[in-house]
């Protein structure tokens, strides 16, 4: 297996930029243009902070390139870090959906190796399945304990990790 360069698709990034900008404007405009009650101002300020943080995260994703290799997952960019598969010590695969019936959602993988920072990637990233499959192999090899939700989500992607059967 050779190294593969992975990036978030332009379409996803544009959608996230739009979300962040909409939120920043909706929360920021009343603060700038109106005489806002202090409690509501605190609420709007919290919303503004949330969307500003999301804007920053989207910009970071925009500038980040992920390199998946047999030995590691490298995030190259302003907040770069490396996850070494043979030293994997954290793995969590979560599913999120904004719909009440939890359909049309997205996955998020969080992986980290000893001494390194946690890397979180969403399923909109090109080659997400390959990263999850490699992380699952590494988890099997290193014996990282996986949570209920992670195991269920891995199964939904057709990935089974040996040695991670349900325990009571």
């Amino acid at each position: 297996m050779n190294s593969v360069d992975l990036r978030y698709p332009q379409q996803t990034l544009v959608a996230d930029y739009l979300r962040a900008a909409t939120g920043v404007v909706l929360c920021g405009a009343p603060l700038l243009l109106l005489d806002v009650n202090r409690w509501l101002a605190a609420l709007l300020l919290a919303g503004f902070g949330l969307f500003a943080l999301f804007l920053l995260r989207t910009a970071l994703r925009h500038r980040t390139r992920f390199v998946l290799s047999p030995d590691s997952l490298r995030a190259e960019g302003p907040a770069g870090t490396v996850v070494e598969w043979n030293r994997l010590d954290r793995m969590k695969l979560s599913y999120f959906s904004t719909k009440r019936d939890r359909s049309d959602g997205w996955m998020q993988l969080g992986v980290g190796s000893t001494g390194g920072r946690l890397v979180k990637v969403d399923s909109s990233l090109e080659g997400f399945h390959d990263i999850v499959a490699r992380a699952a192999e590494a988890a099997e090899a290193t014996g990282v304990a996986l949570g209920d939700a992670t195991r269920a989500n891995l199964r939904s992607m057709g990935i089974v990790v040996a040695g991670q059967e349900e325990t009571v």
Partner: protein, 332 residues
């Protein structure tokens, strides 16, 4: 998780705007306005200046402006915590609701705690003692609570309290504390008067929650992993708490969304029956008199708490159980 929070919060903002517009326009839909009934009273009394007075009142309340303009002014005022004038007493809505909001929040918060604590204990007991005396009693209470309307229970308790115990159950405090500053005696009086409303309002919620918790926990307790755990000799309490209970409490978390709006809505009918000085009767009266500013403000609070409650329960569920659901698209 940040992505999830951002998307959910972003959905909340237009939702609240749409709800506020719908509420404002719908309350104004019936013919006439809040001045109409006041003028009819003046005319009935033979006041010759009734029509001139009506015009003055319409100008004071801004009722001569187009509806969309009144709506925009009301929305802009929300940011300043100024919800306009109420037609009922010609006082600012903000002053009017603050008087009752605190009592409503206290009463409904106590009700929510009552529902959670009682239903959790009884629900777990009923599930772990299926088809025993305790389970039958819990199920009986559950069915009674579900089938008796709250206001009827309130009437029965009023009657029983008055006739058999000589107690006056109505109100949320003794008459001598009404309109008095906060004191220890007032707090004690409120607490004493809270018991009956809390039990009455919380009865159906508790009964429903007991049924759901019992059913969910029974489902979990019959699963293979519990049987295996039991066969391996795990202590019963640990076997119950570690997985089945964690999965079975999902409805508790999901119900936060439904419970929060109750904190403001103030259980209208029960409050009327028990003469409780909460927001409920005020909302009812505002709707009857077409007091658009007051009614729309209450309903906006209810809507805001509903969407915030939904957000909290969705976040808690996403944090507790971030699993994919197979066939989610077909689940309704």
């Amino acid at each position: 998780m940040l992505h999830f929070i951002v998307r959910r919060v972003l959905l909340m903002i237009p939702t609240l705007f749409v709800i506020s517009a719908l509420v404002y326009f719908i309350i104004d839909l019936p013919p006439g306005d809040c001045v109409t009934s006041q003028i009819e009273e003046l005319l009935a009394r033979g006041d010759p200046d009734a029509h001139q007075r009506a015009e003055e009142l319409r100008q004071l309340y801004g009722l001569n402006l187009p509806l969309w303009q009144r709506y925009l002014e009301w929305v802009a005022g929300i940011f300043r915590w100024d919800f306009g004038l109420s037609c009922q007493d010609t006082v600012p809505v903000a002053d009017l609701i603050s008087e009752r909001m605190m009592l409503t929040i206290v009463m409904e918060t106590c009700t929510i705690i009552f529902i959670w604590v009682v239903s959790f204990v009884i629900g777990v007991y009923a599930a772990t003692h299926q088809y025993r005396w305790g389970d039958y009693v819990a199920s009986f209470i559950g069915f009674i609570g579900l089938s008796i309307p709250n206001f009827l229970l309130a009437l029965v308790l009023l009657y029983v309290g008055k006739v058999y115990f000589g107690l006056s159950i109505g109100g949320l405090m003794d008459p001598e504390y009404i309109d008095q500053p906060l004191s220890w005696g007032k707090v004690v009086s409120v607490m004493q008067h809270l018991i009956i409303p809390v039990v009455v309002i919380g009865m159906s919620g508790t009964a429903g929650m007991i049924r759901r918790l019992r059913a969910n926990l029974l489902d979990e307790l019959q699963k293979q992993y519990v049987v295996t755990g039991r066969a391996k000799g795990l202590p019963p309490m640990r076997l119950l708490v570690k997985y089945p209970l964690r999965h079975a409490i999902n409805p508790f978390v999901a119900d936060i969304g439904g419970l929060l709006p109750d904190v403001i809505s103030g259980s209208v009918i029960v409050s009327v029956v028990l003469s409780l000085p909460t927001t409920g009767p005020m909302l009812l009266s505002a709707l009857k008199t077409q007091d658009v500013n007051l009614a729309a403000t209450f309903l906006l609070f209810v809507a805001a708490l509903t969407v915030v409650g939904m957000l909290i329960s969705d976040l808690a569920l996403a944090a507790l159980d971030p699993r994919i659901r197979f066939g989610a698209g077909s689940e309704k």
